[in-house]
């Protein structure tokens, strides 16, 4: 029997069958791979946190070691961290909160002493939103490290914010309360020339060719550092005078 492949009835049946078969295939695959995709996203988050707390030289660590280091030392902070002035939340301590809600993490050494906090920082970059974690010491005085987990900056220019070489400059940065009307940190501009300059210990080189990204990061980090300080005071993690 010769099939008339161009009769309207056949066209309809064929389209319906082909669509159903392929859609069903994709849906099955999607359902099967969902857990692997979630695990990858989680591992990426853990890797960023292990990196920002300087718990290991990130490059040599395998997936297993990252997971182990994370489980050993890092926990989500169990109290809310909210800036009373702007209402911006840095930690939602509700365990049922959406995975997209901000989370602050605490790292402890093997003795249980707090090494520091990794606080989510975010803002508008040159092109789009930038997300990351800023890890600070337990007294909120010094930066341990910074990591950017999501960004859309130009590769090779603004995109270099993710490079270890640039991020390394943040390590040890002084973020104690600066003088009145002074920013906490300085990205780009003049290098501090003397010890009594307000920029001393608070300066990071901007990225050449990415002034837009550098000043955007400067803007939202300063805003967030101030908010984090207020939130930490509110939560009782930081002395009221600091």
């Amino acid at each position: 029997m010769k099939l008339n492949v161009n009769s309207p009835g056949y066209v309809l049946v064929f389209a319906a069958v082909v669509s159903t078969v392929f859609t069903a295939g994709i849906m099955t695959l999607h359902a099967v791979s969902e857990s692997a995709a979630t695990a990858s996203a989680q591992l990426y988050e853990q890797k960023s946190l292990v990196d920002v707390f300087k718990l290991g030289a990130n490059r040599e660590l395998g997936d297993r070691e990252i997971r182990d280091l994370y489980e050993q030392s890092i926990r989500q902070l169990d109290i809310p961290l909210v800036d009373p002035q702007t209402g911006k939340a840095f930690n939602s301590s509700d365990p049922n909160a959406s995975p997209l809600s901000p989370r602050t993490y605490v790292a402890r050494n093997s003795g249980g002493t707090i090494i520091g906090y990794a606080v989510p920082v975010s803002g508008i970059g040159f092109w789009s939103r930038i997300d990351g974690y800023l890890a600070v010491t337990s007294d909120f005085s010094t930066v341990i490290g910074i990591v950017f987990t999501r960004h859309q900056e130009t590769p090779g220019l603004g995109g270099r914010i993710t490079e270890p070489r640039w991020r390394k400059q943040f390590e040890g940065l002084d973020i104690t309360l600066p003088g009145a009307d002074k920013p906490s940190i300085y990205i780009g501009g003049d290098k501090p020339t003397s010890d009594d300059s307000p920029r001393h210990g608070r300066y990071v080189d901007a990225i050449t060719g990415a002034t837009g990204t550098s000043s955007a990061v400067n803007r939202f980090l300063n805003r967030d550092i101030e908010a984090i300080r207020r939130a930490a005071r509110e939560a009782g993690l930081l002395d009221n005078t600091k």
Partner: protein
């Protein structure tokens, strides 16, 4: 292009697409992704793998059911089949190459509309047997990858000074290994990292590949003057 009615053996089909009618430098198809994703070797490799998978399997599938596809809705059916395979790639990349997926996700989706894939389905798979069609798709995918990987090699090396950046196999060829060291003799070429850099490298790659293959053909024709005259007409994107 293949004349209607004439069938090619699978190996012949593969070689034709891979070199003689290379999608990038002979047919000038699929240029969009060649410009966008080629600044890192690893991302390019993933993109190429995705395209090879999509062209090979969609060619095979379309050829398998070619006699049952109604002519009037054939392009819709082809696009549906391509999309299904591309979504498989997207799901696999998200699960196994999470970080690279963040960079190339937008372009992986665009494989669906890549002119190479649809071109091979319409031009070859609809008229040939499944194995030959798969070989033709594989050849087109490999031909695309050949050029893209060469472009990515040059762009990453000159643009970042590295190879396979952001992977465990990262190699610093021109820049220093130590994060603190910024003073080396090498200065990265930012133009290579941004899309316009691909225009230059792509043009040079096409120039080299074409002048080489044209010379080869001229030599082959001079050897046996009685052979078929001229080379097939070229399509443009």
């Amino acid at each position: 292009m293949t004349e209607p009615g004439k069938t090619l053996s699978p190996s012949r089909a593969l070689w034709t697409q891979l070199w003689q009618e290379n999608p990038i430098f002979r047919q000038v198809l699929g240029i969009c992704s060649a410009l966008a994703v080629t600044n890192l070797v690893f991302n390019t490799a993933l993109m190429c793998a995705g395209l090879i998978w999509a062209t090979t399997l969609s060619s095979f599938t379309v050829s398998l059911i070619r006699n049952y596809i109604p002519t009037r809705i054939r392009v819709m059916v082809q696009v549906l089949i391509i999309s299904a395979y591309v979504i498989v790639v997207d799901i696999a990349f998200r699960a196994f190459f999470f970080e690279a997926h963040k960079d190339i996700a937008a372009y992986v989706g665009l494989i669906i509309t890549n002119c190479i894939v649809l071109g091979r389905l319409e031009g070859f798979a609809m008229k040939n047997r499944p194995i030959a069609a798969a070989a033709d798709g594989l050849g087109a995918g490999l031909g695309y990858s050949l050029i893209l990987m060469s472009i990515a090699f040059v762009r990453e090396l000159l643009g970042f000074g590295t190879l396979l950046k952001n992977t465990p196999w990262e190699v610093h060829l021109l820049t220093a290994w130590e994060p603190g060291v910024t003073e080396t003799w090498w200065r990265n070429w930012t133009i290579m990292v941004v899309p316009p850099g691909a225009f230059f490298v792509l043009a040079i790659a096409v120039w080299i590949a074409r002048s080489w293959s044209l010379r080869q053909e001229a030599r082959a024709e001079a050897g046996k003057p009685s052979s078929s005259p001229g080379k097939p007409e070229e399509a443009s994107a």
